[in-house]
Point group: C2
Chain length 341, copies 2
């Protein structure tokens, strides 16, 4: 899922996302709540109408953003008190309030309000996060049902930091609430790749395979392939567009730091094996030049390619799974992807 934090995937239009083949985009509850404000989004028919995407949407719960505001957020069992990063105004998110906001924003999939502890966290801290996440999940579910559970799907989130016993506990608790989909949160927050894989492999065995399994905030192409091999179905990540804006695109031959001087005179497309509209038309030399000039057009072109690349990767993964050759696809993809070193 391309990430459109404030209602737009950065530098891309809805038409761009359609032509990349995106089927669902993500919005951020915290940001949309602050701006343009829940009521505006609701009055314009909900997120997918407001931003004219008109296709499925998902909102995270804002929990991750609120907890990122370390110094200005105060967490209690009741909820989180925080100040807006925009104007310092005080706000209070409870699980119930977040459900009300997410229902008003109106995405098709909404995420429960969870507590994501920072990395590293002691086992005690992590266990408090697990307890609170479970408590809040139950409160979310109750309010969600009152607001009309048929209108959208509420997904639960498993926490537990890097502690197997806590991951087991959290997964069993969340799965017991019978959400229509389950997410693994609290990974890709600073732990090593090995830790991430081992926690993912451990956690996912408790999540029912007949419901969507969503790994939040991941990741690099190699991480996605790894996670798919363990059974993950859904991903979101800002990497494709964020890195594109800062001079690096993802390609079939690995990440290309197109801002580098070596591409100043390179007439090849960003990705020599890509059929996206940017790669069919523009050279690395031109897009690098636009980067050097801080031209918005350069961000548009590079963001488009990387978003297309990720969508194509997911399409290829799905096709390989259906053909019973995912392991081979992964091997071949990585052999080419990692050749640049």
């Amino acid at each position: 899922m391309p990430v459109g934090t404030t209602g737009a995937v950065r530098a891309l239009t809805a038409e761009d996302l359609e032509s990349c083949g995106a089927e669902i985009i993500l919005g951020n509850t915290y940001h949309l709540y602050l701006r343009p404000g829940t009521e505006i989004v609701k009055r314009h028919g909900g997120l997918a109408r407001f931003n004219s995407w008109n296709k499925p949407t998902l909102t995270d719960s804002g929990g991750y953003q609120v907890f990122s505001l370390k110094d200005i957020a105060k967490v209690t069992d009741e909820g989180v008190e925080f100040r807006s990063h925009l104007d310092g105004s005080p706000h209070f998110f409870t699980p119930e309030r977040v459900m009300e906001i997410e229902h008003a924003i109106g995405a098709d999939i909404i995420m429960a309000f969870d507590q994501c502890v920072p990395y590293p966290a002691s086992e005690v801290t992590a266990s408090h996060g697990v307890r609170r996440t479970y408590d809040w999940a139950k409160r979310c579910l109750k309010r969600h049902r009152e607001l009309g559970e048929d209108q959208r799907a509420l997904f639960g989130i498993v926490q537990g930091s890097v502690y197997e016993n806590l991951r087991t506990q959290s997964a069993e608790e969340i799965v017991g609430l019978e959400f229509p989909g389950n997410a693994i949160g609290g990974l890709s927050v600073g732990e090593s790749k090995d830790e991430m894989e081992s926690m993912l492999a451990h956690t996912i065995q408790y999540l029912p395979a007949d419901k969507p399994r969503y790994l939040m905030g991941v990741g690099y192409p190699e991480d996605i392939l790894m996670a798919v091999s363990h059974g993950v179905d859904m991903f979101d990540c800002v990497l494709p567009t964020r890195n594109a804006r800062t001079g690096c695109v993802f390609t079939s031959v690995g990440p290309v730091v197109y801002r580098n001087a070596e591409f100043a005179d390179d007439s090849q497309p960003l990705d020599p094996n890509c059929d996206c509209r940017v790669c069919r038309r523009y050279s690395r030399a031109y897009i690098r030049h636009l980067y050097n000039q801080s031209e918005i057009t350069g961000m548009v072109l590079s963001s488009y390619h990387s978003t297309y690349f990720y969508q194509q990767l997911m399409r290829d993964i799905r096709a390989s799974i259906e053909a019973g050759r995912f392991a081979q696809f992964r091997r071949e993809f990585l052999a080419r992807y990692q050749q640049r070193g």
Copy 2:
């Protein structure tokens, strides 16, 4: 002509420009010379290939930019010594050198290197500018012929500030050199609208009507209509995209400062009478929200609409001229355009 100073019209792709109906775009010699550098553009097949526009292009001579660097440029009869705004490196532009650069950049229409005096300028200063502009025009023409005049068209530029006698002199001198097109420079540099119109009306009578007459750096829709009424054929201006990025678009009902709070909940398109792809899909409320979030996507959408609006204005002007009803079109356009006051 949409202006793509450094090789891209800001926030727009070549596909965007095509779908707006643009037929020619402008590049800036000074900027392209400094970055990516003349040689890079030339090796990639010239400007229209380098930026993948693949349609007609025009380069200004860089004269206007160099003279804008007041404190760091030294003008003599030989040429202009200046320092790069990027790194302070010293450069020397002569009429001959500018022709070499413009030939290398490879636009279809290239502009002579002229001296645009600031506004206000004394008659003495302005007359020196006229003399130098004529002298440099002859030197440009000579070097242009040596470099191959069949490959691209060199246009002359008339100067003379706001002095009728100097405008007459400059026009007669420049027209005498028999360029395939003639431009009016040195207007829209700070003088009043009345001064601009009276200088334009005075100057254009000396320019042959069977060759393109180009008013440089103009302007607002009402200025374009005024200039067309006097016989101008070509325009370039950064207004549509620059204003769009700062929160104001041009519409059939006048400029709309879409960043204003009054549009926070407005579900109308930017321009209620526009059939561009942005107006068919997105609301003012959404685009205003993107502006408030400094989202690049907002700049893309607003820039697209305003560029489309200007292209549509020119198409409508051409159609009305062909139908012999330009005066009526102008009246009707302005009646609607100025209703917002």
